[in-house]
Amino acid sequence: MARDWSDLFVLDGARVARPDAESSRDKGRDTGTGGRGGAFRRLRDNLRKTRQALTAEVQATLFEDPNEETWERLEEALIYADVGARTTAQIVEELEREASAGRLSGGGQLSERLVELLADAARTGEDRIDLRAKPTVILVAGVNGTGKTTTVGKLAWHLSNQLGLSVVVAAADTFRAAGIEQLEIWAERAGAAFSSRQAGADPGAVAYDAVEEAGRRGADVVLVDTAGRLHTQQDLMAELAKVSRVVAKQIPQAPHETLLTVDATTGQNGLRQARLFSETVPVSGLVLTKLDGTAKGGIALAIAQELGIPVKLIGVGEQIEDLRPFEPSEFARALVAA
């Protein structure tokens, strides 16, 4: 059910995506990230799959004879997933309508239709990342603690290891104590070039340097990490806009992609975050992070519905490989899983 990396990225014929991480892991390749999560993660994945299979069964039974309680329980499940009252009501009402109209018979069909509705709600806009520009500039922004730096590290690794692209990572978070050092470690692990200035330097200047360097080296991608900021901080939002403008001056289409990281545990405030960030910079996609926890990230549905911004990537752990392309049906199934 998972989506292929080659499906996420738009590349020209010359650069073809290599098969995914599996083969390199089998070869015992040391990614330098430490094996702490490895065995545990695989176990968890397997457990999750079992749980999902079971839940599908349970759901089918639940939907066998839908009544008022059924819809209430479904509503509860979606609210628990942070889907939000409005989107929940829309989806449950639609399903109820189709059920009473006799268009769906049996728990299995209802269950499948639910997943379909949820997956459709998540589908919006352009869900791929175009890497054809050389260099492609990807700006990563978001609220504090949502996983920007880790995501940049993971993305750098995937681009350089899975696609064989040359990557420059820009440390435009010049505010956070040891933020530059943090990103440098990731860049090293990812095998990407690292571009930075001193702490406290102008973030726009760092982005500028990185794009210049990418031009000199003939690099394929520039990943710009930025400082965490609350969407309510006017001056910081202005600073972010400036970073975007700086690279736009260098390369008219840049930033080619602006990714907003959203923590999967975020509640309804996520919608406000997405709204305000997209008013400042052209947010083209979300990275829904920390989905390896128990939070479902349902707020992504509201963001897709109301703002038309799609999730493009999901973060599923702290290791460098723990990044995956977003797949709506997989996401939808997980939303209503126990």
């Binding site: 009252a85 104590a177 545990t265 920390k290 939070a295």
Partner: protein
Amino acid sequence: MFETLSDKLQTALADVRGRGALTENDVAAAMREIRLALLEADVNFKVVREFTAAVRERALGAEVIGKLNPGQQVVKIVSDQLTELMGGAGRDLTFSPRPPTIVVMAGLQGSGKTTATAKLARYLREHHSASVAVAACDVQRPAAVDQLVKVGRQAGAEVYEQGTDRDPVAIAAWARDRAFSEGKDVLIIDTSGRLHIDRELMDELGRINKAVRPHAVLLVVDAMTGQDAVSVAEEFGRATGFDGVVMSKLDGDARGGAALSVKAITGKPILFASTGEKLDQFERFHPDRMAQRILGMGDVMTLIEKAQDAYDEQHATELERKLRKQQFGLDDFLDQLRQVRRLGPLQSLLGMIPGVDKQLRGMRIDEREFDRVQAIILSMTPAERRHPELINGSRRLRIARGSGTNVQAVKALIKQFEQMRKVMRQVAQGQMPDLGALMGTGGAGGPPTRLGR
């Protein structure tokens, strides 16, 4: 001065007229709005259910009395219930009878533990004159130790670290011994972010706790956390236990329903609120203010409390008397502005006034404009300040000259003042203030104080 929810409730209760009790129908309509508002604020679904049941009990038969309309009445009940649930008065961290007091910071990745560690260190030094050490036990996240070294030093704490190659439990034990031998009052242990469902890491946290026997384990929770807050808190509580909560990133506009959920489900108090990235943006948590925030109101209490530090008790009663007698003059206006100016960055304070936070967002108060206002008022005679309606053309000219401004500015200030006086009159009479009037200033000459966009 309850906004949004009050408006919605007022619409729902539009048929409730005059005095009388709220009927079952009235209450049912109101409950739906309350439920939606609380879910919107990210209060946990289970907690919302229990909460609305409790409110329904109190609302049924409640008399619609006094100056509050039925909508406001219900909101008051909700507010009271929320405050009660949040735990009444705020509490402070207690110290161990045998130093060092050891505090362990725990929580999910990105919740703000490291920053909170430094902030708590600074807070304890400031407010309790404690000598503080912080220990770097996050050996997982790249440069986490570096980060704590930087912010810990900034906070004036000594930083105990042993790099990233040692087991966090060993580092914690070593830090405990060192804090004891160095006679520190407090040792705060920063740990790595961990998922509550990560068996391995939750065990590790348990072992850290066993090794240092902390006086308090604080769970750091991000204010924007949604429904999942309950799972996290429950599991941390079950697996390793915690004694209190630090709410982080409260400077955002997340309503913070997670705070209510965690308190309601675990019963643990929320001890601190982190309200910004600077180290001094850390304060004791005030449950009543959080209750109001969850409801969508401005943070009245912070404003009042800050004012209490700066404000004379006598002044306050005198002002109140003047308001009631509608004797509020330009002297008092200037006085108010001075008080407000002393209190701190004007922007953040004005954002705290209930009902105006949305409208004033993005507003700027210019200190130079403030000086102009002061100059204009000081160029008036006492009589003119008491009765600005006296000010005619020639007086305006005199005032303009005396203050180094112009007639337009004087005119605009007086207009502004009249509108503010009107608002205060309404407030004194317990009505919803017409803030639109206040915001509507801005004329050709530009207002003397840019209290509007």
